[in-house]
Symmetry: C2
Subunit: 324 residues, 2 copies
């Protein structure tokens, strides 16, 4: 409810056609720049703990913003980094995080172009909070946006879901599994490039972060005024993630990912897109999971394991706080 209130507050105060795009990044046409478009996005990272299996807040802060740009089909180029440090944060910890960001920038092919550091007193922060904003260039001809899904389109996911959320949860709860579950935090711009070479006509891209696959599908259905149907038996999930979800009583479709995307493409190129994804290391487990329909606009339904069909709603509030 608080989220709704806040969104309403912001929408009312900052109402403009750009914020209304509701994408991961905002598409901007700069005056005097030959009609070229840039993508612009911002994200703050408050993940707890700072270090977790498969990554840390530094990598997350770089990949999170890189991915928001990539979801517009943009070539991510420049990032800013704003740090809010709590007094007493060990310099060694900060050093590890900064090194990790530098590594992540090299991996994603982006550059930190602007920075800022503020220090707050002990007890007024939580070690470190990081904001990254990012700029990318959208190549001519690319038209990717949440409102572009059309009946007949196919819905794809780039790999196993739920890994990030369960990795964080496991550390918090002090649980160990036979196989340690690793966060999937990764830069998706390379995978998107691979896809765009084969299928330039991608309709929608979205990374399934907070709220997981279910939230993303609902957002896309709602923004496009279409229905989405998927088959929950074909969504890739690691057995250990499935087991952890059962233990915690969580639905994996609502668990956050930090290196997985949902793509909606015209039905006739679905297989090409799938093959392109599988050619990339981050898309090895990609799958076609469903389709866009004209029925029940704004709603998402799933074919269940027992053959029935259920409505997959938006999550009621944040399931796991401080997941990113």
């Amino acid at each position: 409810m608080m989220t709704d209130l806040i969104e309403h507050l912001f929408a009312k105060a900052f109402d403009n056609e750009l914020l209304g795009q509701m994408g991961d990044a905002t598409e901007i046409t700069l005056a005097g720049m030959d009609g070229n478009r840039i993508a612009f996005t911002t994200d703050s990272f408050v993940v707890s703990p700072l270090f977790f299996p498969g990554g840390d807040i530094g990598e997350l802060a770089v990949y999170g913003t890189v991915n928001d740009l990539a979801m517009r089909g943009a070539q991510p180029l420049y990032l800013s980094a704003g740090f809010i440090l709590e007094e007493g944060l060990p310099m060694e910890t900060l050093g590890r995080i900064v090194e990790s960001m530098a590594f992540a920038c090299r991996r994603a092919g982006v550059m930190i172009a602007a920075g800022d550091t503020k220090v707050v007193e002990r007890g007024h922060g939580d070690g470190i909070y990081i904001n990254t904003s990012g700029i990318g260039i959208i190549p001519a001809g690319i038209r990717i946006g949440p409102a572009n899904a059309r009946p007949g389109d196919a819905v794809l996911v780039s790999g196993t879901i739920g890994d990030h959320g369960i990795a964080i949860l496991s550390v918090r709860e002090g649980l160990t599994f036979e196989t340690q579950i690793q966060s999937d935090t990764a830069p998706l711009n390379g995978l998107v490039n691979e896809m765009l070479q084969t299928t330039p006509d991608i309709h929608c891209l979205r990374d399934a972060t907070r709220g997981g696959l279910a939230s993303v599908l609902n957002e896309l259905a709602s923004a496009s005024a279409t229905g989405i149907e998927f088959d929950e038996t074909v969504v890739p999930i690691r057995p250990e993630v499935k087991a952890a979800c059962e233990m915690f009583g969580l639905d994996p479709f609502y668990i956050a990912n930090e290196g997985k995307l949902v793509a909606i493409v015209p039905g006739e190129v679905a297989n090409d897109a799938l093959l392109a994804m599988r050619k990339h290391p981050l898309g090895l487990n990609a799958a076609i999971i469903g389709k866009v329909v004209a029925d029940h606009p704004g709603r998402v339904t799933a074919r269940t394991t027992i053959g029935g069909r259920r409505v997959v709603d938006v999550p009621a509030g944040e399931l796991l706080p401080r997941i990113c």
Copy 2:
């Protein structure tokens, strides 16, 4: 010392020619955009208290980033806003801050184009922290940068100094003066436009925020490898700010401003620049306060009230924490 350590850490990890510019905003030439340049900057705001005489964290967050862009001669266009909210922050407080940001955007002529909100538990924040990043376009022909000061140039300041820092300090200390000291928080892009129309050949611009006038002059002297001499008797200071500084034992030259800039222009156009500044409401008290010299490169000296000359050093650490 911690600041030095952090800067060293960041410089080592993120070393690139863009961060090396050391300006308020970074100048970027985007590929495929006809050689046009954009300015990009980021700033986090952790000011305490959230509301103070003359402004609040919302206005500060907008103007701070607008001013960083304006200091590159850029036309500020788009801002992002990243909020870190502490659980329990009254919605009414958030509402006031957001309204204030919206007002500030209208005043500065910019648009919030991207946003993000994170919530942290009670005791892990301080009500609200705001990050704003900004994009502006640098008009052709404008070459403003901290390294551009040349011997013979004149040094100007756009108005009274120390207002913001003393306004914040007064609230914190619960002091009242006969005249309440107001923060000077304001968008400087209009003033810069006025100046550029008369004097397109501005060499350096810098808003005198954290560390005040003394820090800015030292940064410019250092970046340009020139000396700067100013006359402390001609620097505009409100009598009540001067009185407060005496009471607290503070040097007004080190006190933060949030709506004042330092300009360095060729000596022969100093008067034109001064007149242009005085034509704008935010430059009514502008003054020529000194000059750039070939002597003592990297050093700043002041002619004192008793006719002597003293070295004005960089401040040793942050005088007032959480001033912005």
